[in-house]
Amino acid sequence: MIVGTQKPFPEIWEMVQGFKRVLVFGCNTCVAICHAGGGKEAEILATMLRMKAAEEGVAIEVKDLAVQRHCEPEYFDQVIEEVRGYDLVLSAACGVGVNFLTQRIGNVPVYPAINTSFYGAVPKAGVFVELCAGCGNCVLHLTGGICPIARCSKSLMNGPCGGTDKGKCEVSKDIDCAWYLIVERMKELGTLAKLSEIQPPRNWATARDGGPKRIVLEHIAEEEAAEVKK
């Protein structure tokens, strides 16, 4: 899932300055799980903004709303007219949601209420960890299912650097050394010998370095187009 954290309130307050009607728009999928931008968080944020406005004597109307998902049109198409009725949409969705709504909303600005952090998992309640970098060229079969791109601070491909200490990364004792984990895991699986092979320089064009990406599934896109024609 996509993990995010709410922006500091002063930054959000600064963003809404000069707007009269603001909608805090939550997304009930990924960012709701990480308690950053779901319907509940949108409601709390809207309340905080109203309280702050009252305290500062600022005339501003703040409402909240949430839909199941901001990355597929069918979820917000139902409420798009309502959303268009505001001066500002403060989106509590991830960056994907902010961008996508911007493309469809027309002449209303969409600002981010959260910082989108990473693709991660929830090992236990309240804890979120980054596990994938979305690099577009997966190597997990070579590294025991542990990603060196996302989880090594230097994205090293051929083994640990000299900074590993007692299984921790040189950047922080709170970060596990991915290569320590990879070696231990592959020992366990009996596949350590695989790590002797040199991984050549990567083709990063599949990652962000290749420019924005687009994937088209021809058969589905064509069917859809035919449907519309009918």
Binding site: L156, E170, Q199
Partner: protein, 329 residues
């Protein structure tokens, strides 16, 4: 005589079978070359080549390419370090061609300290910098080899004239995960490393056992191992390295020995420093003698950090002076 890959002095010393000595020169946070010139003069004659560090601890300093050329002009052969932290493969290869064009013949490939290291003590560094790591150390070694031996860039384009580097890589033999470190070394050797410099060694016995494992993997038929010696300055420094520097363990007996030297000075601060430095030089000399005795070790890389003048008494004390010279050089 074997055919030289680069013809560097360091390569010639190693090929001659005599123990090689490399030193280290850290460029300053300054646009003034004077400090590089000064350090080059202090080191010259006491090592076969000196590493020119590449923005060590992620602090902006005179670039290793430029400082290497300054050192070379002063008669000190440089081992230009190149980290994977700050450049992508385009910038790396461009700098390698530039350095070769300016006469640099040794290059040491390293991952580089993470940019978060820059913020330490009184320094701000650039912890918010974007790191690159387009390629890692092993891959960079391979790029250098491909450029030198095939005359090709990593992408496959032909070079009109290939850069003839003596290719080095770093190794942390006593780092975690310990049993993978020899494999890690073998990958760098397979990629084309002609010589290896290690992280500082204090635990000689553990290093010996790691060297044995690396030897069993066939590492030393193709590469020359230069064992790293960090010259200790004080008991505090030894304790700090033991507890906080990755891949370094200091036997308690060594720390105790240094503490004893400190105690002998009583309350005299100046004497405290002198006695500990003298002990540090002695320790370095003993370590050098011990590591040179280990099969596969072809020399030492002496790191007297911000204490370049220590190299002379160490090299002399270890019986490694004068350094070899070659009639046609």
């Amino acid at each position: 005589m074997t055919t030289m890959k680069s013809g560097s002095n360091l390569e010639r010393v190693i090929a001659s079978g005599q123990p090689a000595v490399t030193g280290e020169l850290g460029p300053p946070m300054s646009a003034d070359p004077a400090e590089v010139v000064h350090k080059a003069h202090v080191l010259k004659g006491f090592c076969d080549a000196a590493n020119i560090t590449d923005c060590q601890t992620a602090i902006v300093r005179i670039s290793s390419v430029a400082a290497a050329v300054i050192a070379q002009r002063e008669g000190l052969e440089p081992v230009m370090q190149m980290t994977c932290r700050d450049r992508n493969r385009i910038a790396m290869q461009a700098d390698l061609l530039g350095a070769a064009a300016l006469g640099v013949k040794n290059c040491l490939c390293i991952a580089g300290d993470h940019q978060s290291f820059g913020k330490a003590g009184k320094l701000n560094g650039h912890p918010g910098a974007k790191n690159v790591y387009d390629v890692d150390t092993t891959q960079l070694v391979g790029i250098l080899k491909k450029m030198r031996d095939e005359g090709l860039q990593q992408g496959g384009d032909k070079l009109q004239v290939a850069p003839k580097f003596h290719i080095g890589a770093s190794w942390t033999p006593l780092g975690d995960p310990l049993d993978f470190r020899p494999v890690n070394l073998k990958k760098k050797v397979d990629a084309g490393a002609d010589f290896i410099q290690t992280q500082g060694i204090y635990d000689v016995e553990l290093f010996r056992s790691q060297m044995k494992k690396a030897a069993d993997l066939g590492c030393f038929e193709r590469t020359a191992m230069l064992a790293g010696i960090i010259v200790p300055k004080s008991a505090m420094m030894l304790k700090y390295m033991d507890s906080s520097v990755s891949g370094i363990t200091v036997p308690p007996a060594l720390i105790a020995r240094m503490a004893k030297a400190k105690e002998a000075a009583g309350d005299d601060k100046k004497k405290m420093k002198e006695l500990q430095e003298a002990e540090g030089i002695k320790i370095a000399i003993e370590l050098i003698k011990q590591v040179l005795d280990i099969p596969g070790v072809k020399g030492v890389h002496v790191m007297a950090i911000e204490w370049e003048s220590a190299l002379e008494p160490i090299v002399k004390g270890a019986g490694l002076y004068p350094r070899p010279t070659f009639a046609d050089a």
